[in-house]
Symmetry: C2
Subunit: 144 residues, 2 copies
DNA sequence: TTTTAATCAGACAAAAACATCTGATTTATA
DNA sequence: TATAAATCAGATGTTTTTGTCTGATTAAAA
């Protein structure tokens, strides 16, 4: 089966969007995020740790601890999260799995695929969490 | 790590392109394909079996047996191979992994992502094996 | 008719991704 | 100061994907 983003990356984006949507409320626990997004607490905790290490979000330990965005949501791009969790392979690796695929030794699909990937990269690097944070609450409603 | 096509799908496209590039030569063994593409014979054999079952390629059993395209290369689209091996999830599943994502209950990225996926679908459904078969030989040269 | 060389089918093995568990550490509050 | 509630770190378990192996079947050629 083909996939675009790993499960960890999907949930990482969901979680960051949820944190952005909770503006005004200082700190959110991993338990609340897990409950709202209907995903396992243990798994999202691991992902939140990775995002904290990448300084996309910040954590506060101890009682009343939890997570918050590390910067203004209009400064966090979708691309930041994708690179932090999945890395850059999707943008650089050969779509047909050939080794050393480049414009010098292109695979058959290199030219056509590059265009689509460039567009995808552009979108992810331009769109910010701020642009999406309101939409996530509506989606969460539909999960209930 | 994120991926687009599964490894089986990558190699499936490679193999079909190789068969297309060998026009005039009636039948090609899985061993030749494996040697040329520098991939394990056993693995590509399994993939060739799947492509045979989907009637994208045809097989001939027994001594001097092997594989050939099941139809004219300008009738085989990249999409046919992707659907046969990876299915349609990549075109229909939510990019953020939410359940039941649609234009009625869209995820935050639904609209932007749909555009990119539609373009990708269009490309894969329009481009034929015929358009790419010559390029694969040049790529194979670079593997040697 | 026997041998040889190929695909086919299904079981098996290894690696990666996904998910969970346990215990340590941190910090607010009673 | 003791307790409770949170993150953190690392080990462990499970599932999926990737890759391999074995034996059966098929068909060409000696």
């Amino acid at each position: 089966m083909a996939i675009i983003f790993s499960r960890k990356c999907e949930l990482g984006i969901q979680a960051v969007l949820y944190l952005a949507s909770a503006e005004g409320r200082d700190i959110i626990s991993s338990e609340e995020i897990a409950n709202e997004l209907k995903i396992p607490k243990e798994f999202i905790s691991k992902i939140l740790q990775e995002l904290t290490a990448s300084r996309i979000i910040a954590s506060k330990k101890g009682k009343m601890g939890g997570f918050s965005l590390a910067k203004n949501p209009n400064k966090i791009h979708l691309l930041d999260i994708v690179l932090a969790i999945d890395g850059s392979d999707i943008f650089s690796k050969c779509v047909l799995g050939f080794p050393h695929c480049s414009s010098e030794t292109p695979c058959p699909m290199h030219a056509t695929w590059s265009q689509l990937i460039d567009e995808t990269f552009k979108m992810l690097s331009e769109e910010t969490i701020d642009n999406y944070k309101n939409k996530v609450l509506r989606k969460i409603e539909s999960l209930k």
